[in-house]
Amino acid sequence: MTPSDITPEDRFISRRAMLAGALGFAAVESLGSFAGEALGQTPANPAALTFKQNAAFSVKDPPNSYQDISTYNNYYEFGTDKSDPSEKAQHLRTHPWTVTVGGEAEVTGAFDLDDILRQNPLEERIYRLRCVEAWSMVVPWVGFPLANLLQRFKPTSKAKYVEFKTLYDPKQMPGERTGVLEWPYVEGLRIDEAMHPLTLMVVGLYGKVLPNQNGAPLRLVVPWKYGFKGIKAIVGIKFVERVPRTTWAGSNPSEYGFFANVNPAVDHPRWSQASERRIGSGSIFASRIPTLPFNGYGDQVASLYSGLDLRRNF
């Protein structure tokens, strides 16, 4: 089954959903979703997006079900159980949404997400997702290359790293009222990683607007890295000269590194990373599958790390 079977192309083209509308306003479905939002609820039926499929950047593995992807989430801003985000993220207001860009770049300031989306055509890519907890999924994301976005800000030669920040709003994000992690969540990439064509800014899932529990309205997906690098609900992008203090690596540097490249040869100190359990494989008797270096994206990304000791820079 491919995602296009679920949302046939002719259907969503006929809706002529504008991007802004697709994100919760104006378009056909959004009458319903707007009313829902006024009541503080996420539309039960998220609006369809307009996009092209990018087969060259898609894996052949069968994608996980929408149900699995949208109910099995690590998103500590809404609680530490896998089911917490889908139960508690429904009230998050994702429109309007502003992304603040700063640091070592010529173009900085606050940008409306609707404007960003107008300038960045969407595409669908089916990526593997490997969690640091040794489970994995295959996800049909809809988004645009991060490089397209970053280039518009004209980063200077001092921009060696990019730092991302999640919304800090304890009223809307109950997990932020606990001390489980340092808030707001911060992630980062080296500038060459950020500019890599595989690195994706995601706004949709299965051809529809991204569910809140998966990081709406804007999240990062870096398919060759462990899932925690994929920061959600991004409100800040900053170009910096030094390695940013990222949340997991900062809170427990012996267990989580800045790079966090998927690597079966480097175990987490408390569990093995040599293999993984594919979510939704149907049977409790399904076998583990071997984990691939760079999550199977080695051909595209291994050259970024030539000369780097990946055992030490995990």
Partner: protein, 240 residues
């Protein structure tokens, strides 16, 4: 009274204790619309592990309940609850071996050697085996006082269980902390109770009035070997 415990209360408790396992079995085989979610193996591991700790707490709760209520009935459920600790530990261990690690002994050996939390859990499981095989009245008689010493391992198992849980959580240590607190209270209670009694004896008060009827009753219940003399050190057993 006694027949009601034997034929009504005990069977009810027995089947109630089976419910979590039956729910998992229903989910695993898709019976009655029960679902185990996106990652069923992890859910089975987590659920059975959690029930090991819960039954451990329930087992350790029987003695304080006896003291608080003055009723010996509680002790009649202790062995069954203790065996349920073992039952859920067997499910937990076999889920890990056969479903999570696909029965690959080499991978399991590596996992145990390299990852301490697996080793801690495994140690606790070995101790539980020794307790389960000596849980019969016959073993109790044969081992005599050594049985009491042996079954004090349950306190160590509780510690290992919490440690095992603590070490495997990624960040949110509140749940293992909650179990640690419960066990601390249950074990701390025994320690305080013992000191209190020792103090009484040291002050030369009358021979412990509470202890003798308890031991006599335990003999009648078969909890203590029938040939034990009153005043024998079976206090460990009743507190166990």
């Amino acid at each position: 009274m006694s027949w009601r415990i034997r034929w009504v209360a005990k069977p009810v408790v027995f089947f109630a204790c089976l419910v979590p396992a039956l729910r998992l079995a229903a989910g695993a085989f898709g019976v009655a619309g029960v679902s185990l979610g996106a990652d069923p193996v992890k859910l089975i591991l987590h659920t059975t592990g959690t029930w090991v700790l819960r039954f451990l707490a329930a087992t350790l709760l029987m003695t304080p309940l006896r003291d608080l209520t003055g009723s010996l009935t509680w002790l009649r459920f202790r062995r069954m609850l203790g065996l349920y600790v073992f039952f859920y530990a067997v499910l937990h261990f076999s889920t890990y071996v056969f479903l999570d690690q696909d029965g690959k002994l080499l991978a399991i050996g590596k996992d145990i050697a390299k990852h301490p939390y697996v080793l801690i859990g495994f140690l606790g499981f070995l101790m539980l085996i020794s307790l389960a095989v000596t849980s019969t009245a016959k073993a109790q008689r044969r081992l005599g006082r050594r049985w009491t010493r042996l079954h004090q391992l349950i306190y160590i198992v509780a510690g290992l269980g919490v440690w095992h849980y603590w070490w495997l959580v990624k960040k949110d240590i509140r749940p293992p902390l909650a179990y640690a607190a419960v066990f601390a209270v249950l074990i701390g209670y025994r320690w305080g109770h013992r000191r209190l009694r020792l103090n009484r004896t040291n002050r030369g008060s009358a021979p412990n009035g509470l202890q003798q009827p308890v031991e006599l009753a335990q003999q009648r219940l078969g909890v203590v070997p029938a040939n034990a003399r009153v005043g024998d050190r079976y206090t460990e057993l009743e507190r166990g």
